[in-house]
């Protein structure tokens, strides 16, 4: 991503930027128009929950695995959540194999912060025996095809996988021993945060940038929005900056599209 700037021929770069100056986008969208969003759940049968999300040609898959283990020593009364993401080369020639780099790590941490801060999960309801047995929830996110705005796709896929997850129900005996039942139950969902990214290109703001728009953008700003319209996480990225006014306009754009994205998430989860 570091060298994205240099990957696009200058004439193409100028063409995209001057279209956007006129309020047009290369794929025909309006500045505040999100691409078509598709969400499917249950796509990976060995996961406890899974989802595949498309934003136009961008596709992400996320899977949840939950297991019982000890809590972190400093949080004896809470389950744990770990988010991991890896930009694998399957999805694009710009991704290289190897251990997680700063892009993988930023992506996972932004998704993690959004889910944790909303919060998506009631971690305190994931305790079976305090200080001893808690649910440990892992979410792994992978791109399938990359055409820009992978943060939003990842956030949606992670949330959809959480909504889709079903884990065995455990009974706790008075002496603290666990017994697993056949029944599977949903995870304790507290909120359904959605991720919305706005790109700044010249003086314009566009929602849900595609890959070529990312190549020419000055900066991006991601909002994670909770059901009540609050912002539970933000992340600015890229080599440019935003004026305070642009931040407020970007937030308004994000708040406009968030309810529809959330509705799609909830519909996909119900449909399963």
């Amino acid at each position: 991503m570091e060298r994205a700037h240099t990957l696009i021929p200058l004439p193409r770069r100028e063409a995209i930027r001057s279209m956007i100056k006129r309020g047009e986008r290369i794929d025909g969208r309006k500045p505040d128009e999100y691409r078509e969003v598709k969400i499917e759940v249950g796509v990976a049968g060995n996961a406890d929950g899974s989802a595949r999300v498309s934003l136009g040609h961008t596709k992400a898959i996320a899977g949840v695995k939950a297991s019982i283990g000890p809590p972190f020593p400093d949080s004896p009364n809470a389950g744990t959540l770990v988010v991991h993401a890896e930009l694998i080369p399957v999805a694009s020639p710009i991704f290289e194999p190897g251990p997680p780099d700063e892009n993988d790590i930023e992506l996972a941490r932004v998704v993690d912060r959004g889910l944790r801060s909303a919060p998506a999960l009631k971690l305190e309801d994931l305790v079976l025996v305090p200080a001893k047995h808690v649910w440990r929830v892992f979410i792994d996110i992978y791109p399938i095809d990359h055409d820009g705005n992978f943060i939003d796709a990842s956030g949606l896929a992670a949330m959809a996988a959480l909504l889709n997850a079903r884990v065995p129900k455990y009974a706790v005996a008075p002496d603290g021993t666990l017994s697993k039942s056949e029944e599977r139950v949903a995870l304790p969902i507290a909120d359904v945060p959605v991720f919305v990214t706005i790109a700044k290109i010249g003086d314009a703001l566009v929602v849900d940038p595609c890959y070529e728009e990312e190549l020419v953008m000055d900066a991006r700003l991601t909002f994670v929005l909770t059901k009540d319209g609050s912002v539970c996480a933000m992340q600015k990225g890229g080599r440019g900056g935003f004026s305070v006014d642009e931040i407020v306009r970007a937030l308004e754009m994000a708040q406009k599209v968030a309810p529809e994205l959330r509705a799609k998430l909830e519909a996909a989860a119900r449909a399963a």
């Binding site: 499917e40 049968g45 060995n46 892992f138 792994d140 399938i144």
Partner: protein
Amino acid sequence: MTGKGSVKLLTEDGRRLDGRALNEMRRLRIEAGVLKNADGSAYVEWGRNKILVAVYGPRETHPRHEALPDRMLLRCRYSMLPFSVKEERKSPTPTRREVEISKVIREALEPAIFLEDYPRTSVDVYIEVIEADGSTRVASITAAAVALADAGIPMMDLVAGVSIGKIEGKLALDINGLEDQYGEGDMPIAMMPRLGEVTLLQADGRFTREEIVQALSMAREAIQRIYEEQRRALKDRYSGVGLEYGSAGEG
């Protein structure tokens, strides 16, 4: 190792736990050209296995010192997504098993490729197992060959594979995860379907010479059918029937 033999894998009427006969394959469906960014791609659903393959190349080799003066460099990476396994989450760091499988898959594909046609270039094959249920390495080879053809890599034949297992003393075609875990043996076999050349052969568990001969014969017959499905996927792709991965459910 543990539990080998501790689960009964055949019912009293000689059927396997999923209802198949010993020489019956699981349902197989391949799609070619399912990815937008890759030069070639394929998606396979084989029983409960779901595997996605992307191919890039032939392209300039990076890092450059790995380029080969007289032929194309083929690189393969087989990896299981952390949530693809039945057991607890797999660490995303490549395991020794994944490293070995990546190597044998590469060596199973190389015999089919005209490597000398593009010296100094490289072709990368990325294999992601989304859901695993036994015999993933042969399913990966089967899909990778389709993805290579989809990328237009010059090949003398496709490569297709199947695993022969041994359960309760009998050979069984196309073993699944349970049969792999509790069975007595596993023999993954890949061949060039038209040329009949075996390009992958591994085994663990005990087999007599006669059983090996029989296993190779069972595999050869099955590989002809797998080959038909590979060809159908490529034909559909070229006639524009191909679908993006995920554009329609898993059927």
